[in-house]
């Protein structure tokens, strides 16, 4: 089927299968491989993207369902030259180890900060609770979100 997706403020015309997952379309058809597949069953959050500003698991959403929504992947958050405060703080505080969970973590954190610029530690943990990390113990991730929140507030 023909669809149009709006990803990172750009429009794409695509031909997809009706049962094709958004995750696969982002990665395989649009080359946006920052979005990861960890489990493919909604249990890890590595595939988290924003749909109309809300975090969703792109492994559980069909590409067809995303039509008409504003999508954001990690590629749209910032880049090496213009990192988002979250990307900066994650790097500076050592919140990235293997990095597999990181894109999903950043997007969940962004969804949080966009609606609550001064979250408590508990609110941060709650917002990130669908994003598993096997490396960091979450400690530095939570601190990086706190640091970014301070920076955004400034």
């Amino acid at each position: 089927m023909n669809i149009e997706l709006r990803v990172n403020e750009q429009d794409f015309r695509l031909v997809v299968e009706p049962d094709e997952r958004l995750l696969d379309v982002l990665r395989n058809r649009l080359g946006l491989i920052g979005t990861k597949e960890g489990c493919g069953e909604g249990e890890c959050g590595a595939c988290t993207i924003l749909m109309d500003g809300k975090a969703v698991n792109s492994c559980l959403v069909l590409a067809a369902q995303a039509v008409g929504h504003e999508l954001m992947t990690i590629e749209g958050v910032g880049d090496r030259l213009h990192p988002h405060p979250l990307q900066k703080s994650f790097v500076e505080l050592g919140a990235v180890q293997c990095g597999f969970c990181t894109p999903g973590m950043i997007l969940s954190a962004k969804a949080l900060l966009d609606r609550n610029s001064q979250p408590s530690e508990e609110e941060i943990k709650e917002a990130m609770s669908g994003n598993l990390c096997r490396c960091t113990g979450y400690d530095k991730i939570v601190k990086a979100v706190q640091r970014a929140a301070e920076e955004v507030a400034r």
Partner: protein, 274 residues
Amino acid sequence: MDYFRPRSVEEAVTLGQSPGAAFLGGGTDLVLQMRQGKVNPQCLIDVHNLAELKEIRRNGDVLELGSMVTFSEVSDSNLLQDSARALWLAGQTMGSPAIRNQATIGGNLGNGSPAADAIPALLALDAEVCLRSQAGEEVISLAVFLERYPLLAPGTLIWKFLVPLRGWQSGFAKLGRRRALAIARLSVAVALKTEGETVMDLRVAFGAVGKRAFLSPALAARFIGRELDVHWRTEMISGSQELVRETLKTRASAPYKAVAVGGVMHQALMLLQE
């Protein structure tokens, strides 16, 4: 496979007649089941964004909840926090934030999992389900509906839930293996009406004890007309333990759940609104 996005409930129901049609809500269960090959619909009818199905509103003394209301919308709703607290609590503990943003209460029912988080809450709140099909509308009490096998006839759309607003208090608690992303191993929802200290009416529902969530009128009957005091609570806790022990009989999970349900009941009672 075909994919349709109808613009109205009528259109959805008409499309629902196509062979192998399945209604698609948030997709958090269906997309996964399709991928695992557990279901193979030939035609997907995406009703997730139908405005008619997304309403949370008060209509006199009834709360109307569209089937495509997401768990995030449930847990963000002040109206539900005040008037359907059990459901509001269930909305908060389900899955993860990302799942809650997609998953819907109608989908939670349609998927038919014994551990569905919203169902015990809706049972305790005495919800009715409104169904739509080519045959027309049907309004049926959720407790009765849950006795149907299979749950839904082909082409039947879960349209909305009607929750009576009777000024009851309600609470919900669940037991999972961890503090997020946890499938309910046991859940309890309680709704009650008091006059002074006396319990005038009571509904108690359990999830993940057996094939489907259920209401226990027999348990509730023992506690109506009595004073809501520490004895009431203690007996309610042991009553729920007996009930679960009898329901699960020799199942492997029985020894644990029959004890632990006491703790879950305790918590659900503590979470009753003031």
